[in-house]
């Protein structure tokens, strides 16, 4: 049993590693358009654990009524999102390689496409949690056991609509809803603390009626454990402490890498750092 568990963990670590490589490749190939790198690298492990283990997504039967759903609020993390969908078998390598090419369906913010595992067209921040609430309410009403996971950015939580939705989630006791905050502390203009005076996110979500757990968002084991937290009659909120641009020294904690162009030299440096060379 212990061996098997270890094997799965290694698999998830390998999955996360492949995702990171692909993220850098895609960003590099996006060329002068640039890409949202920082916030993609901060949520790699979260998405690897979700798509590789925790969420009951069904690539072979993407419209199954009983499927779990993953919605991405901080949809500028498409690099990580698309690579996770690829790993989970929803999209092909060709789909990935078409990223941000004219005419591609795999654009800078995801196009809703349930067949491809994309449940929601994220991009306009602060909206996904409401939609997730509607879905979770419906699933609860039907009693089909379907769970809804929604990934939000910490900066995204500056949108008031997040808190409208959080009140709803608590009021309707949506215990089939899991909110993950990619708490990397940085937004486009600087740190969330400087730009918007964000304080005590845990306290806020707790006061709004969530079961709140803090977790190291780059620790696969810790994430898996956190997802297993009991949250009877409450939505579960995981505040995942992460590093924006994780794994690439010159990107880590740099607001300028929220969206930027990766040149050839930077690409090779980033690749070797990711590989631990």
């Amino acid at each position: 049993m212990e061996n098997q568990k270890k094997f799965v963990e290694n698999e998830l670590a390998d999955m996360a590693q492949r995702m990171k490589r692909k993220v850098l490749d895609m960003a590099y190939h996006a060329g002068k358009n640039g890409a949202h790198l920082g916030g993609a690298l901060s949520c790699i492990e979260i998405l690897a654990v979700l798509y590789g283990s925790v969420a009951g997504v069904q690539a072979q039967n993407p419209c199954a009524e009983s499927r779990d759903k993953v919605l991405i609020g901080k949809a500028h993390c498409v690099l990580a999102y698309y690579t996770a969908l690829y790993e989970a078998g929803f999209i092909s390598e060709e789909d990935l390689d078409s990223f941000e090419k004219n005419g591609s369906d795999f654009v800078g913010h995801p196009l809703k496409n349930i067949e491809k595992g994309i449940e929601y067209a994220g991009g306009s921040l602060g909206m996904a949690l409401s939609v997730a609430c509607g879905m979770a309410y419906r699933a609860k009403h039907k009693g089909n056991g379907s769970r809804v996971y929604v990934l939000l950015g910490d900066g995204e939580c500056q949108e008031g609509s997040v808190w409208e939705a959080m009140m709803f989630a608590a009021n309707y006791e949506l215990d089939n809803l899991v909110i993950i905050i990619d708490n990397n502390g940085i937004q486009s203009d600087g740190t969330t603390a400087e730009v918007a005076g964000m304080r005590d996110l845990k306290g806020k979500f707790h006061e709004f009626g969530g079961e709140v757990v803090e977790v190291d968002g780059h620790d696969i084991n810790a994430l898996k454990e956190a997802f297993g937290t009991e949250h009877a009659r409450k939505p579960l909120v995981l505040i995942a402490h992460t590093i924006k641009g994780k794994g690439v020294s010159f990107m880590e904690n740099q607001a300028s890498w929220h969206h930027s162009v990766l040149n050839e030299e930077q690409y090779h440096k980033a690749k070797s750092e990711i590989e631990g060379i």
């Binding site: 306009s124 409401s130 509607g134 409208e164």
Partner: protein, 327 residues
């Protein structure tokens, strides 16, 4: 199925559109277990005070949180509920416009929005509660139908039609209690198909909402002055019935009348279509204007904005006489 009869028309007129919606919510919930009425603390106002008791589990009140109202409604709609989401017209549109763009427009989720107090009817609450830009807000968003019924019977017809309609839509309610009666017997209501209420040859009126009744009276006054008027109830503002408009090419004057800002409303929609024609009548847009009216009672506001029988007759006759003189 509720009957369109003289008796019911009288009752619905007395109640006003909001409470007719309340009746219809129960009617639709009773025949569809997947029907959901969602609101942002405006359940009582929309005549749904007893709805939750009668249909437990079929009403969601999100509280005073319109952005969440749209998002939750969209999520439920995507999962197979049939959602009608209602609150004040200006809040259900402008307050949550980006949610509407993305969820109802871009993702095309078939939520039906209900906006109470479209136009000037709650004008005593001040411009914060007037909905004078709601049509302009929704109209550019691809795929959302906009319906503004002319009377209580048409609210009933429209809501039956919307329950069958797959796409997203916005139902705009106008008037207060004791609304005018247009329809006392059943008629053919189709989304996107205007109703000709009166034939004529010189001036064509196109109107929507409770103001249609005022337009009918204005047309009758003009007839007394020897000017032949056609009256069209353009209950669906989007998609516009272009076929009905094609029949107006030979008219001297086309008059659109609406309780909305002059910019971006039904009149603008008509002008956008008619403008491309080589042969077309001159168009006069009669609307609430370009400014927020000072708060006041509905009837006073209609008068201030020139949206009364006299106001309309005066403007239209003036323009018609100018045209006769080649101006």
């Amino acid at each position: 199925m509720l009957e369109i009869s003289r008796k019911n028309a009288r009752i619905w007129s007395m109640l006003g559109m909001r409470r007719v919606v309340g009746i219809m919510l129960e009617e639709l919930a009773g025949s569809d277990e997947h029907f959901i009425f969602a609101t942002a603390d405006l359940g009582r106002y929309l005549g749904a005070a007893d709805f939750e008791d009668k249909y437990p589990g079929q009403m969601i009140d999100v509280g005073i949180a319109e952005q969440n109202l749209i998002g939750v409604s969209a999520g439920m709609q995507q999962e197979g509920f049939h959602v009608f989401a209602g609150t004040y017209a200006t809040f259900v549109t402008a307050r949550a416009l980006d949610q509407i763009r993305v969820n109802l427009g871009y993702m095309n989720l078939g939520v039906k929005l209900i906006g109470a107090a479209g136009g000037l009817s709650d004008g005593n609450f001040s411009p914060t509660h007037m909905a004078l830009e709601d049509i302009a807000d929704i109209r550019p968003i691809p795929g959302i139908a906009i319906i503004s019924p002319a009377d209580g019977a048409e609210v009933v017809k429209a809501m039956y039609a919307l329950a069958e309609y797959e796409g997203p839509a916005y139902l705009r309610l106008t008037g207060r209690a004791n609304t005018p009666v247009i329809y006392t017997e059943d008629y053919d209501f189709k989304i996107g198909k205007a109703v000709c209420l009166k034939e004529g040859t010189e001036i064509a009126f196109v109107a929507s909402g409770t103001i249609v009744a005022t337009v009918q009276k204005a047309a009758a006054e003009l007839e007394k002055k020897g000017i032949s008027c056609k009256v069209i109830n353009m209950h669906t503002i989007k998609p516009l019935d272009t076929q009905a408009l094609d029949e107006l090419e030979e008219f001297k004057l086309l008059v659109t009348v609406e309780e909305h800002m002059a910019a971006g409303g039904m009149g603008s929609a008509v002008a956008e279509y008619m403008g491309a024609k080589a042969k077309r009548p001159v168009q006069q847009i009669i609307a609430a204007g370009h400014e927020y009216p000072h708060a006041g009672e509905y009837e006073i506001l209609l008068e201030t904005c020139g949206l009364t029988v006299d106001g309309i007759v005066k403007k239209v006759e003036g323009r018609y006489r100018e045209l006769q003189n080649g101006r």
